[in-house]
């Protein structure tokens, strides 16, 4: 299967070092303590990635509980109360525990290597950002065992469901989200400081790889909106525990205020989960098309415009809540406007492929699937953006289909593409292509089986977040559930592939991929613990 791939670059032909590489450092703590106390960006990156993978499986199991219940109409496996907790926890864990930490982990590993920095700008803070997460998510998961159960109001936790009618554990949910939020803000500050301050001499902003650019902008978004989330959950905490009236009309407040605050955070948040993905894909496609990225500058400007626009579209999630007409129109048009810079990106990727000498390594397969399937999610987003049409689609499975297309074959495929792409740099071995292809095809088929039918059941009116449904949706749901199981199981192949690659495999040279040009490919594979102790010589590549 893998035989039609080009030969890998040979070990000899690789450049060995550039920039100062480290001599052995001081005696370091060993065993568990080493990981607990580390300040090294590579180790912390690894911790983030392992954490994220763990959460991915926990969140995945919750999703499978949901899909198992929805396999057939009627109530068979779980109580509706528990079903609600499963949908809610699935969303929360995937968003805050799996996707976001995965990107932070990749940033930890790759940003210093791509800008030629010795480490992150604030290494101890980096360690703090990471270790807040296991604490936060242990607390979050423990709410499932508390009296009254865990969060059951959806990952968007709308008031008054999450205040007046919420289980007692909601206070713990709020506090754990506070910790995750602090972790994100501190992590983002660190990434921004690294990018702005620790670039190799001679690397201008417009010389940076796109993964670095997209993370710079993502970090800005994180610092701008995570505090809004902190604010809104603080107001919830006060409504619940101190009798304030923020989201209570009886006292002059307004539950709709909750939605405004949440989505002012929430929409930029979805871009937080996709911009770094754009960066990864923009690194992989040129490498395996053996052509420089088409339209580098326009990619940067498109990313920046998406980030700015993302502050002006939040109420497209609230078309049916009863907004004044001007607001409906304003948010409809700004939302559609976002499709323009997004389209610029998709065209640039396609133009990069045009006349390239393309090979289909696993990383490239995931990146190409990303372009196609993410675009499907973008298109369904455009349909949802049409306010009058959204009156029909809102809170149906069509929305579920939309955001899963942008998040699963979008964000998560990009993360996996990035892992396959950088594994040689991390481990010194190439991932097994055969296993990679099995993983890829099983995932692509599984994802589409799961989420494509949801478009139809949604358009026909099947509501989301309900454990039972009318008989006419039975076939679509059965297909979705089978697909979900297939997707879930195939992720075990991913774990197997990664473990195999860590333990051995074909040796990779410094420049592991023939077409890869960025700075990380100038240090040996596996990258030693300390790289670029003295800044490398940076020669700008012309974009």
């Amino acid at each position: 299967m893998a035989s039609n791939l080009p030969p890998k670059p040979t070990l000899e032909h690789s450049t060995t070092t550039s920039g100062g590489l480290a001599h052995e450092h001081h005696e370091r703590p060993r065993g568990m303590l080493r990981w607990l106390l580390t300040t090294n960006h590579k180790e912390i990156g690894t911790l983030y990635l392992i954490f994220s993978l763990t959460m991915f499986f926990i969140g995945g199991i919750f999703a499978l509980v949901v899909r198992a219940e929805l396999f057939q109409p009627g109530l068979q496996l779980v109580q509706p109360e528990f079903f609600n907790q499963m949908t809610t926890m699935h969303g929360l864990i995937m968003v805050f525990g799996a996707v976001m930490p995965a990107f932070v982990g990749l940033a930890n590993w790759m940003v210093p290597l791509q800008v030629g920095a010795p480490d992150m700008a604030l290494p101890r803070l980096n360690n703090f950002s990471f270790w807040l997460l296991p604490v936060a998510f242990t607390l979050l998961l423990s709410t499932l065992l508390m009296p009254g159960g865990g969060p059951n109001f959806g990952w968007t936790f709308y008031a008054p469901l999450s205040t007046t009618y919420a289980p007692p554990s909601t206070t713990f949910f709020i506090l754990s989200l506070h910790m995750a939020g602090i972790s994100s803000i501190l992590g983002a500050i660190n990434i921004i400081a690294t990018i702005l301050n620790l670039r190799a001499p001679g690397m201008r902003l417009m010389d940076m790889p796109l993964f670095v650019w997209t993370w710079l902008i993502t970090a800005f978004l994180l610092i701008a909106v995570m505090p809004i989330l902190a604010g809104v959950i603080t107001m919830m905490l006060m409504d619940i525990n101190f009798g304030t009236s923020f989201f209570n009309a009886a006292g002059g407040g307004d539950p709709v205020l909750f939605q405004h605050l949440f989505w002012f955070f929430g929409h930029p948040e979805v871009y937080i989960m996709i911009l770094p993905a754009f960066g990864i894909v923009s690194a992989i496609i040129p490498t395996f098309a053996r052509k420089p990225l088409f339209g580098y500058a326009s990619m940067v400007y498109a990313t920046a415009s998406i980030a700015i626009l993302s502050f002006l579209v939040w109420a497209h999630h609230m078309f049916v809540v009863g907004l004044p007409l001007v607001a409906e129109l304003f948010f409809m048009f700004t939302t559609m406007l976002i499709a323009v810079p997004t389209g610029v990106k998709v065209f640039n990727w396609i133009a990069t492929l045009f006349q390239g000498s393309i090979t289909f390594e696993t990383a490239m397969l995931f990146a190409l699937a990303f372009v196609v399937l993410f675009s499907i999610g973008g298109f369904s987003g455009l349909m949802l953006a049409i306010a009058p049409a959204d009156f029909q689609y809102h809170d149906t499975y069509f929305v579920v289909a939309h955001f899963h297309y942008v998040l699963v074959p979008g964000a998560i495929f990009a993360i996996m593409a990035g892992v396959y792409y950088w594994l040689p740099k991390w481990t010194g071995h190439y991932p097994d292509e055969r296993l990679g292809r099995w993983h890829f095809w099983m995932s692509v088929i599984g994802v589409n089986l799961t989420f494509f039918p949801m478009h139809f059941s949604g358009l026909a009116g099947m509501p989301r977040r309900i454990p039972d449904y009318a008989l006419q949706f039975a076939d679509f749901n059965m297909v979705s559930s089978v697909g979900a199981l297939m997707f879930g199981v195939s992720q075990l192949l991913f774990v197997w592939g990664v473990i195999k690659c860590v333990r051995g495999g074909e040796k990779a040279p410094a420049k592991a991929w023939e077409g890869a040009e960025d700075l990380e490919w100038s240090v040996p594979s596996p990258a030693p613990l300390h790289t670029f102790d003295t800044p490398p010589d940076f020669k700008p590549v012309t974009h």
Partner: protein, 286 residues
């Protein structure tokens, strides 16, 4: 230690201990709020958080004084502090945004105004006003009086604005190498900051004891205490930071051109001051 000039610390135990401490504090706080017990755990956590902060910062001060930090490190700290303050700005933006939303939309709509005036059906007798002294539902008893801006809040505005000025004088003195002058003006700043907190505490007492203005008194009380409360918390943090800087000035830690810790504390203080101006205008005056 690395061969390069950028200082990358070897492993440190404070971050991991810090997150454990934060976790303990949160579990204690949650248990206190939900089950009414947990004060001990929370206090333990808080003490642990403060101790870790103390030890962590102490390490940083030592490293700085040993000359391990170069100009690039200094810039990392500057970017770090700058973006941290930006995150705080956004935190307050959420609260100011809520205040504006409630005042321009939610409350008037409840009185039947505008496109969404059907909300008036809920409580037909309700009349909108701001400050809202008569919450829609009779279950919630509103305050009988609003806080006048021209008494204690005005005094407090004078305190905080002048504290920003005295702090700037202290900073200028430090930059010129007049350590004693810097110390004295910093003491002045702290006195003003603490006076602010005392006055604020008195205002809260008045609100609770005489105005019936409480957290439970409807949306006016909610927004009032949310904004002034979090601001007051920030003044407290800022004052503690400045007190630490005072100690470090007295110990002679700062030189004319190397005193970023002081500058960072000053940035923070000015930020807190600017937030107060916003509060004074939109919570009290208008």
């Amino acid at each position: 230690m690395s061969g390069g000039s950028y200082y990358v610390p070897e492993s440190s135990k404070w971050p991991a201990l810090g997150s454990l401490a934060v976790g303990t504090m949160m579990v204690g706080l949650g248990a206190l709020l939900v089950h009414g017990r947990g004060a001990l755990v929370m206090t333990l956590g808080l003490v642990a958080v403060l101790s870790v902060m103390y030890l962590w910062f102490r390490d940083v001060v030592h490293e700085s004084r040993r000359g391990l930090y170069d100009a690039q490190m200094d810039r990392s700290f500057r970017w770090g502090m700058g973006w941290f303050i930006f995150s705080e700005v956004m935190f307050f933006a959420a609260f100011f945004g809520s205040l504006f939303y409630v005042r321009t939309f939610a409350v008037p709509w409840l009185d039947g105004e505008g496109a969404k005036g059907v909300a008036a059906l809920l409580w037909p007798d309700f009349t909108a006003s701001w400050p809202l002294l008569n919450p829609p539902s009779a279950d919630i008893s509103g305050p009988h009086e609003a806080v006048s801006p021209w008494q204690l809040p005005l005094v407090n505005t004078l305190f905080l604005v002048s504290s920003s000025i005295t702090l700037t004088i202290s900073h200028e003195a430090l930059k010129e190498g007049y350590r004693l002058t810097a110390r004295n003006w910093l003491i002045g700043t702290l006195v003003l900051g603490i006076s602010f907190l005392v006055v604020q505490g008195f205002e809260y007492y008045e609100a609770y004891a005489h105005y019936g203005l409480t957290l439970q008194a409807g949306i006016y009380g909610s927004t009032f205490f949310l904004l002034t409360g979090f601001h007051g918390l920030h003044v407290t943090i800022g004052a503690i930071t400045l007190a630490v800087m005072l100690g470090r000035i007295i110990k002679g830690h700062f030189t004319r051109d190397d005193h970023f810790a002081f500058e960072a504390a000053a940035w923070y203080w000015h930020f807190v001051d600017v937030v107060w101006i916003g509060l004074f205008l939109f919570v009290y005056v208008f």
